[in-house]
């Protein structure tokens, strides 16, 4: 396994942030379940004001890491820091956490549920109902205040779960696979919710195995695989830093002999309606486009950066490399 050269370490980016205020730090965290190693020694920073994605395939160790961040699980080694010091129980009480598996009291009315979690997070008896109403309105659940939670649809329950995590306006928001199972509209709504919180200066960290789904949402990413950090840094820097561009073409010709003059080009995908080519740095994209137009009509084209999935697979040693034992 290899990491890309553009990986920006947590320490370097802490300096960019300036003050450690609101910065969540993970320092050499390791954890094992008996003989099975889940985390080998993960380190990174999560700055406030941006959305950070903790990305990786299923079984990479994301949930274990988030549970350690929240204090649900103890690390075998390493530490979690907040504001530049070891995190305390009182700090975590003010954070908001949404686990991968939804956890709601089935028979409890929606409003009481949000009030209860608000109170657990430190809201007073007086302010909790008002905050609960506001957050339920934000998630279009204002009219379901008195309904039992198990009478809501799956999507509504997901929004209710998010409301219980955000009712106390947490400084740090940690969400485990929040996009899993959501329809496209829900994905857009959740993305907007997270962007609003990040713009307000909150520290937002979420995990996902759907790398391409969230690549436009994340500003910072931490990619882990088999318990190790394989990539870490701003998304734009990581994608541009590969030095690779991809030419996307819809060309009306079945033959590919027009590519012969460009031996350095790699065909990333060749589907009926789209051809995707990885261009080496010394190849001019316009020369390739001209060659394609000479072979057939070009209906559509574009120049893209590599997707997060492609970057991840290269960093993790490709699909074949991922089948090796850790």
């Amino acid at each position: 396994m290899r990491s890309l050269d553009v990986t920006v370490t947590g320490t370097e980016r802490s300096a960019d942030v300036g003050s450690p205020h609101g910065v969540l730090g993970v320092r050499d965290v390791a954890h094992s379940f008996g003989e099975r190693t889940a985390l080998v020694g993960v380190s990174f920073d999560v700055p406030p004001g941006v959305i950070t994605g903790l990305l990786g395939p299923n079984g990479a160790g994301k949930t274990t890491l988030l549970r350690i961040l929240l204090g649900v699980l103890d690390a075998d080694r390493g530490a979690v820091t907040y504001d530049g010091r070891a995190v305390r129980f009182e700090d975590r009480r003010g954070w908001g956490y949404m686990p991968q598996e939804r956890g709601l009291y089935p028979a409890m009315p929606v409003g009481q549920q949000v009030v209860y979690f608000g109170r657990l997070h430190g809201l007073s008896r007086r302010e909790a109902p008002g905050r609960a109403r506001a957050v339920l309105e934000e998630f279009d659940l204002g009219d379901r205040w008195g309904d039992r939670s198990d009478q809501l649809s799956g999507g509504m329950q997901q929004r209710l779960q998010l409301a219980t995590a955000l009712v106390h306006a947490p400084e740090v928001i940690v969400l485990d696979e929040p996009f899993a199972g959501l329809d496209p509209v829900a994905v857009v709504n959740l993305s907007q919710t997270l962007r609003r919180r990040a713009r307000d200066g909150r520290t937002v960290l979420f995990s996902s195995h759907q790398l391409d789904l969230v690549q436009d949402l994340c500003e910072e990413i931490v990619m882990i695989d088999r318990g190790r950090t394989v990539l870490n840094g701003p998304v734009s820097v990581l994608r541009a830093g590969t030095g690779e561009r991809q030419l996307r073409l819809q060309v009306r010709t079945t033959g590919r002999e027009w590519l012969d003059p460009f031996p350095g080009i790699v065909v990333v995908s060749d589907q009926a309606d789209e051809l995707r080519l990885a261009l080496p740095p010394d190849v001019d994209a316009l020369d390739v486009l001209d060659a394609a137009r000479a072979a057939g009509a070009v209906v559509d084209f574009g120049l893209d950066l590599p997707t997060l999935s492609q970057i991840f697979l290269r960093a993790a040693g490709g699909p074949a490399g991922r089948q090796e034992a850790p």
């Binding site: 549970r67 009291y105 209860y116 657990l120």
Partner: protein, 393 residues
Amino acid sequence: MGSWWRGTRLVAGRSITENLRSKTFKIVTAGLLLISAAAVVVPQLLGQDETSYTLATIGRPAELAAAVDRAAEAAGLDVAYLARDDEDAVRRAVADGEADAGLAGDVLYTPQRGQSTFPVLVSQSVVAIAVSQRLADAGLSPDQMAGLQEIRPPEQVVVGGAEDAGRADTGFLVGIVLYLAVTFAGSAIATAVATEKSTHISEVLLAVLRPSQVMVGTVLAVGAVTLAQLLILTTPLAVAVRYTDSIGLPATAGGDIALAVVWFLLGFLLYAFLFAAAGALVNKMNEVSATITPITLTLLVGYLIGVFVTTNDSDAPASVAASLFPFTAPLVMPIRWAAGDVPVYQLALAMLLTAATAVLLAGVAATVYRRALLITGRRAKLREVVGPPPATT
């Protein structure tokens, strides 16, 4: 500590609210209230007939009525008279249930065999009249006759066996109620913890609360609800045995019942944390009953020793040992205490041992609870959640 208690109180408050809202709570509580009310009211209703009797006679024999009335007044009974024309009519009145007894000449008609209170009282009155007549014939003065009539039988005071039997009955009832209360409360705790685990609420809770807060809050809530139900069942009974003598339990049973409530608290604390830890081991709700079986079996053994050994011989070595051993003491000691003479130091020792064991178990159960809650997708094994944590990398 303030923050710890605040979170614990919130957990307990939510759990109590949800309990009170459940159909199960409403049905069980209504049932207990009915049982308690019936235990107090029914004996009183039945007992009212036993203080008033009717005597059928031929005509209205004034001398007999005066003698019977005097004896009845001394016994605290009321007597009414039914005048009939002849012996046949008197006999029919008793046979038809119009009268409790019938006197015609030298014959006393009664509805059933055996020496019940009222026929004996009538017979004694008839004999007293005849004896007085003979004594008057023998020359006794009216003053001497009046003196004879003032002779009263000795006051009857029940001691020893009869009262102990009543207390033993109380102990037997207390044993059943305690066994059921601790078993039901424990099952409720295990179910509550298993529900939170299977619905993944526990992970959300553990991100904001300490495991001890969630566990103690749940235990307190179920304990409070069960104690309330126990008080609903026992308070009317305890008040009734203190202020009336009509429900068949001795006055000392009130104290025994109060002590039983204390034993419930001790027994509940001892077992509650074990039930909570067992509830955390399960993966699916249908595994709860299998997981708590070792605990309910231990409770059952205590109950069986109490009922089959202690009620028969409260000083048997097995009774003494079981009443001091912490896991059986909450069920056996109340029975033993109600049945006979238990030295106070043994009662105090049993309470102390039970309380100390409960504190120790709470610490172990909290560790099991925390580790087991995070093992999902399968039932947690006991060796995974006790002892030192897994080896580090």
